[in-house]
Symmetry: C2
C-alpha cells in the first residue's frame, strides 16, 4: 500500500455497496441467532435499543425506507419529498416477537429489495438523480444507497457495542484496555 | 421488562461467554469473506487497522493470549506474570496473506481453544483464581474470560466502523444522522 493512497474514504460504487448489503442478514444471523434472551434484550440504559430492537428497526427500513425512497426519486425526482421514517416502529405490538422470526424476515426482505435494485439496472445518470428529504433537503439516489450501506454497518457496530458493554464490570482491570468499554477509539 | 432490571450489565457466566466466543468466527466470515481488497484494506487513517489486520490480531490472540494465560493462572496462580501480548504480530511477514486463509485459521484456533476450555471443567473456585498481569497487576481467570469475550465484540465493532466510515463523504447530507460517521452514540 503506497502512502499516497487514502484508505479512509471511497466513492460510492453500486457493486461495492450491494456486496455489503447482501452480507448483513448472515452477519446478524451468525451473531444473534440462538443467543439467550438476556443477551438479546441487553441495552445501554434508558431508552437505548437492544439487539432485538435493532433487528426490528432494520426490518422497518426494508419495508418503508430505502427502496420506497429510491422509487420516489426515480418516479418523482425532487418534486415529492420522502415520507418521514418512523424510528420507533419496532416497538409496535404487531412486530415479530422472537429474534429468529425477525432475522428470517429481515433476510427475506433484504433479498427481495436487492433483487428489485438489480432489476432497475441503474445508470450513472440515475444515481445522480435528486430527491427531496423532508428534513435534509436535496439528496441524490447515490447518497441514499450509500446511506443504506453505512446504516447497516452502524447497527452492526451498535449491536456489538451493546453486547460487549454487558461485561463492563466483569472484565475488571482490563476495562482500561477495551475501547468498547472505555468509549475511546483506536 | 420491568423497570427494575438493569439491562446494561451482567455478571460473567461461562456459558454466556462461550456462546459469544463460539459465534465470532462465523460472524466475521459472513461480514468479510469475498469482500473486495479495497474494503478489506480500508482503514481510519495513519496506523489504524484494516479488517484484514484485525483478523490477524484475533489469530495471534488465540495463539498466545487467552488460553495460554488461562493455563498460567491454573498452573502458577499469581506467582508468574503473563507474557506480554504483541499487538503488532499481524504485521509479520509470516502471517497468512489472504483474508480467506486468516478466517479459516481463526475459526480453527477458536474451535480448538473452546474445546480445551470445556475440557477444563472450570469450577467457581477456578474462575476466582488470581493471575498476575504484567501491567494491570492482579486479575482473575473470570476477568480474563470476560475480557476475551468483550475483546471479540470490540473488534467486530471496529471492523463495522472502519467499513461504514468509508462512505463518510458518499452519504452526503445523511452524515448528520449516521452515528458511525459523526462519532456520536445513540
Amino acid at each position: 500500500m503506497s502512502a499516497g493512497i487514502d484508505r479512509t474514504r471511497r466513492p460510492f460504487q453500486l457493486e461495492d455497496a450491494t456486496g455489503i448489503l447482501a452480507r448483513t442478514p448472515a452477519t446478524l444471523d451468525s451473531l444473534l441467532r440462538g443467543l439467550t434472551v438476556a443477551w438479546l434484550t441487553a441495552n445501554e440504559g434508558g431508552d437505548t435499543w437492544s439487539p432485538f430492537d435493532i433487528v426490528g428497526h432494520l426490518i422497518h427500513g426494508e419495508q418503508t425506507d430505502w427502496m420506497p425512497r429510491a422509487r420516489i426519486i426515480l418516479e418523482h425526482g425532487d418534486t415529492r419529498a420522502f415520507e418521514r421514517f418512523d424510528r420507533f416502529a419496532q416497538f409496535d405490538s404487531s412486530a415479530a416477537q422472537t429474534v429468529e422470526s425477525r432475522l428470517d424476515e429481515f433476510a427475506r426482505l433484504r433479498r427481495r429489495n436487492l433483487e428489485e435494485l438489480k432489476s432497475l439496472e441503474l445508470t450513472t445518470a440515475d444515481l445522480d438523480r435528486a430527491g427531496l428529504h423532508p428534513e435534509l433537503g436535496p439528496v441524490t439516489l447515490r447518497q441514499l444507497l450509500a446511506t443504506w450501506t453505512a446504516h447497516d454497518l452502524d447497527h452492526v457496530m451498535q449491536i456489538s457495542r451493546v453486547l460487549g458493554r454487558q461485561y463492563s464490570d466483569a472484565v475488571g482491570p482490563w476495562r482500561a484496555y477495551l475501547r468498547i468499554i472505555s468509549g475511546t477509539q483506536g
